[in-house]
Symmetry: C2
DNA sequence: TATAAATTGCAATAATGTTGCAATAAATAT
DNA sequence: ATATTTATTGCAACATTATTGCAATTTATA
């Protein structure tokens, strides 16, 4: 097996994951094979090339996800308060307007509550 | 002049401010009259009693704002990438839907870009 | 006035992220 | 194949933001 670079391994992990992952979770999932700093640097590079996306939930928790969003769709991130899962959704864009002189460059719609599996358990 | 408690002073400051403030900005605006920890504790209490709201912008910057949101309106926070201002807006709720089994408890719609005054300068 | 409760500050700790530098590994040129 | 350059990684140190325990002070209540 070819010993892959941190960046590739981190990307694969995020890509395969159906939920958002924190830097710590990523490091642990990789059996602490890489230094903390290496993980951070990989995440920075992956974000720069738009391979992954950083999501900050209403509680301020930072997670990294993969999602191939089309430019015209608005991304919603659902953060489960119980298990911490972050699940991405896409909805149609232009769901609201601000006064014309506000130039919108980025949007982040984060919703938190209970995900289906946590709801079932309760 | 009556020497007010940190909590009241912090609330007045946030209440009067038209933009979001960080814990550091709050402390400095109060001439470092209070300890850092005291500011944090005031902010926690004010959030607990729903007097203020914590907003985390897409860059992860934490700001505190006052806004009397009606339960049926969705709050949008516009974060200027240039000056860092956070300006709250209200829009009608129910602008999107998720699958039924996702229980939505909180929403955070944060938009970033350029505010009118920064746009004018450019 | 005495006692209880709340507020505040200080020091220490924690979590998360960044930077500089040296060591190593990989890629490219000679 | 070897030398040179470039990229990757780890370590230590630092930075920022937030939390906790404890003692001191202030305020409220008995």
């Amino acid at each position: 097996m070819i010993p892959l670079r941190a960046k590739s391994v981190v990307f694969e992990l995020i890509h395969k994951s159906s939920v958002g992952l924190s830097s710590l979770e990523i490091r642990e999932a990789l059996n602490n094979r890489f230094n903390r700093v290496t993980i951070y640097r990989s995440l920075v590079k992956l974000q720069e090339e738009n391979s992954i996306q950083k999501v900050i939930n209403p509680q301020g928790i930072v997670k990294y996800i993969y999602c191939n969003c089309t430019s015209d769709a608005l991304q919603i991130h659902f953060c489960c308060k119980n298990c911490g899962r972050i699940v991405p959704f896409q909805i149609e864009n232009h769901i609201f307007t601000l006064p014309e002189d506000y130039i919108i460059e980025e949007m982040n719609l984060t919703v938190s509550g209970k995900c289906p599996s946590c709801e079932k358990e309760a």
